[in-house]
Amino acid sequence: MNSPLSGLYVHVPFCRTKCPYCDFYSVTDLGLMDTWLKAVAAEVQFYRNDFPVCDSLYLGGGTPSLLDEDRLGPLMEVLQGEIKFTPDAEVTLEANPDDLTPARLSFYRGLGVNRLSLGVQSFDESELRLLGRRHTARQAEEAVAMARQAGFANLSLDLMYALPGQTLAGWERTLQIALACRPEHLSCYQLTLEPGTALGRKYGQAGKTLFNEDAEREFFLFTSGYLEGEGYLHYEISNFARGESRVCRHNLKYWRRRRYLGLGPGAHSFDGRRRWWNHRSVVRYCELLTAGKPPMAGSELLTPEQVRLERLLLGFRMRDGVELESLAGREEDLANLASRGWLRVEGGRARPTIQGFLVADRLPLCFSD
């Protein structure tokens, strides 16, 4: 069932400043970088035998582009030394536009990075300020151009919509500019106010969104329609690719329940049966590894019912949907959802329609009592 090829994720838990909407784990104390680097090198030793061959590597964060050459170089060396990568492996690095220079970019290329994921978020100046991003719209455009010049043929942009005060027209402008460089991939997230973040506090209703349901629908449908019109495949709730070959191979491993190893604080791993996750605190993570212990904070062995739930919850967030096998015995529910226009049965799979995408979080529940 599981392809022997795994994915490798490395969490770089550092950010120059903390963005007011972000609840990912990162710290702004860059002084911890060297300790972290040593710890990651130690951590990979624990798992090298369980994840011998990978066809994707994802350096995420945090802000991986904060790592300078003296650190990124050795990191890649260690990883490539311990784990075998297939020749065509997808190697992604997340970068903030303001960190990029032509020299940096060619250094990345030299290390084997072949996919850049740029944290653009918006091409509107006031929106960027509101999101507390350090780059300007112009810097973002320049970063994209530089990346192309440096020879990156696989670019992904992260964008956000449903921002405070944003209109559909404003969002369309951001999309327009984004499309100017024909990125191979786009991730479009709706802003969610997370508890404990500055924006969450400012707008005072953590876990909620800023817009009413109908407006959110409009944003979502507009995004999908617009990008599909431009030739993008809406292959996952928030992700668009310019053709099948450009879908993010690494993220697919999460969604298709393939094996992946996550290194770094708070990283999650899955070996096909068991999931485990590391301590989130950089300090704790490093302490454990320095003491020669694995930095695992918890793990779980999945029951068949949990496996089924995961298949549904992940599957219904993808255009590909879910194998009919996973819905055995629930034909009546399937027929019901199909008649509502939420799912379509084709090629032995139940695939969500765009209307189905709109209620994707509810679909798995429709198949359980």
Partner: protein, 597 residues
């Protein structure tokens, strides 16, 4: 036999019965330190959480009296709350005497009197005990006067004590020995023992609490339950000490327990007489009066598959709470269930809690109601405690509903607010008096139906917690009733129907519709909630369909978090019930009880 004394401690709620029991226990047996706590006999979690006694509890105490002889004192601590008075009346059937406790600061209250009457019906020796004399506001002389005037007892015989401080305990023990008569009855007569309580032990079957009136019983005996004629071989008999304590035999006058591998729950009947198969008693003991429920509600298992489990649980539960009555009920919306009768709202609440905790039953309970009386056009009288059996309105000539006389005691400044509340609840015939300076007692005649739903909560809130409330049933009065139906998307949900006074119907309809709107989650389609009398819609709410339910957010490799969220929602869905196309949470059926704010 001459050395046995059987007595109950009875009183109004909170007058200190269980605390006094603690002192009597500690004066007579050595309680291991780890077992010492306040109200030791309140062993149920619910009793401890709420600080009240719910079940009567027996304990046998050895006591060496001033005369140098050793006595066996069988003490039964009883609950004070009116909803558990059936526990008291059954306990009294095992006794020759009672300690009638009166709180020195509160004086005689409603249940003091009610329990006194019960004791007098059983012809018991009554020892008045004035408790809490340590309190600064204790008014011993005033209470003595009340004992004379209101209870008609000789206050000179009253014993002064403080259960809390352990004052007067020796005197009390001596009085028990001297004043309460020893049980009559002969150990050599044929066995005649009364089952006054029981519980079910899944390994050993029924554990029967009994009072032996005549004869004796020991392990190995073949006994017969007189109402069923069933015969069992006794496995164990014993007394209640801090735990069950096996004994070689129980004889006339004893209070204790018996086990005989009785596995069929319904074969044990509270009030039944146990005798010996070989040498039976000539006739059965009188047993107990049937409990008279006043509040009714239906209960349904959450899933129809669990009906049998609920039926089994109810049967076992009834062994340990003889006050509950139930019969089969069925609803188009909720399937098979039971219509239950309770002695009051607190009783209802406790039953629901105990079924959940002790038997793992998750239930849907419908809105509680009372028993109404209808005179039909053909002159026939029918009593209806279930809205589903509401008579054809065209054939109703006259309707009546039960009334109570409420006694509400409040500080003067709240009188206005309480009067307003009582008027809203159709109160009539107000009377005022000043039993104590600064305090007013209001008496109102109120329909019981208006009181069983959130009246006490409202009273507490309008009096900032200072209002106390007691009531007596005073019989039926003519009324003007209608049946209020609730419809979801045009479909009547029978389990939500209720019988209400015509004047209050609209208000109720609006309240129920609003509450349901809050409780029912949005679904794939629009839901219309309507309240109707006959075919006429009198209230309406709408729940719009959800149109988007997805978070377009990135979770990276953390699938666990997302799955756990889903698992939680799945659990929530288990507590939902499909009614037609609409999914209703279990809580919605009782949520209509919650007050507006």
């Amino acid at each position: 036999m001459p050395n046995i004394r059987n007595f109950s401690i009875i009183a109004h709620i909170d007058h200190g019965k269980s605390t006094l029991a603690d002192r009597l226990i500690q004066a007579t047996i050595l309680v291991p330190e780890r077992l010492v706590r306040d109200q030791m006999l309140d062993t149920m979690d619910l009793e401890r959480e709420r600080g009240i006694t719910i079940k009567s509890n027996t304990i046998t105490l050895p006591y060496v009296a001033a005369d140098g002889r050793e006595y066996e004192l069988n003490l039964i601590d009883t609950p004070g709350h009116v909803d558990f008075s059936y526990e008291v009346s059954r306990a009294l059937a095992s006794c020759e005497g009672v300690l009638l406790l009166v709180d020195a600061s509160q004086g005689v209250e409603a249940q003091t009197l009610a329990n006194l009457y019960l004791a007098m019906e059983h012809d018991l020796e009554i020892i008045p005990v004035i408790n809490k004399i340590d309190l600064p506001q204790a008014d011993i002389e005033g209470v003595k006067e009340q004992i004379r005037q209101e209870l008609g007892l000789d206050p000179e015989g009253a014993i002064l004590c403080s259960a809390k401080e352990g004052i007067g305990i020796e005197t009390l023990l001596e009085a028990i020995v001297r004043r309460i008569p020893p049980p009559a009855g002969s150990p050599d007569a044929p066995l005649s023992a009364l089952i006054f309580d029981a519980n079910y032990d899944s390994f050993r079957g029924s554990v029967v609490s009994l009072r032996v009136f005549e004869g004796r019983v020991k392990p190995g005996d073949l006994i017969r339950f007189m109402s069923t004629g069933n015969v069992y071989k006794v496995e164990e008999v014993g007394i209640f000490s801090l735990a069950r304590l096996p004994q070689p035999e129980l004889g006339a006058g004893d209070v204790g327990y018996l086990m005989a591998n009785i596995k069929t729950v319904r074969d044990t009947r509270i009030g039944d007489t146990v005798t010996l198969d070989a040498n039976p008693a000539r006739q059965a003991l009188p047993g107990f009066k049937e409990p008279k429920p006043v509040v009714f509600a239906s209960i349904y298992p959450l899933s129809n598959d669990d009906y049998q489990a609920l039926a089994d649980a109810l049967e076992k539960y009834q062994l340990n709470d003889a006050a509950i009555v139930f019969q089969k009920d069925s609803s188009a919306a909720l399937g098979q269930g039971f219509r239950c009768g309770f002695l009051g709202l607190l009783h209802l609440e406790i039953v629901q809690e105990r079924l959940a905790r002790e038997f793992g039953q998750s239930l849907i309970m419908t809105v509680p109601g009372v028993r109404y009386e209808f005179i039909l056009t053909d002159g026939q009288m029918v009593a209806v405690d279930n809205p589903q059996h509401y008579p054809d309105p065209a054939k109703i000539q006259q309707t009546a509903e039960p009334y109570i006389r409420a006694a509400i005691m409040v500080p003067e400044r709240f009188v206005g607010a309480v009067m307003k509340l009582c008027t809203e609840r159709r109160g009539e015939n107000p009377h005022f008096s000043n039993p104590l300076p600064g305090r007013v007692e209001l008496r109102y005649d109120l329909p019981l139906a208006e009181v069983i739903i959130d009246f006490y909560d409202k009273l507490k809130s309008v009096t900032q917690g200072y209002g106390s409330f007691d009531y007596d049933l005073i019989g039926y009065r003519e009324s003007d009733l209608v049946k209020l139906d609730i419809l979801l998307n045009g479909e009547k949900v029978d389990a939500l129907s209720m019988i209400v006074h015509r004047r209050r119907a609209r208000e109720w309809a609006v309240r129920v519709c609003e509450r349901l709107k809050e409780e029912i989650p949005r679904q794939q389609f629009k839901i219309a909630i309507q309240g109707a009398i006959g075919g006429k819609i009198i209230a309406r709410e709408t729940i719009s369909a959800f149109r988007k339910d997805v978070t377009a957010k990135c979770y990276g490799g953390d699938i666990t978090r997302k799955r756990k969220l889903l698992e939680k929602q799945k659990e929530g869905k288990k507590r939902m019930k499909m009614v037609g196309q609409v999914t209703i949470p279990q809580s919605a059926f009782v949520a209509v009880l919650k007050s507006g704010e």
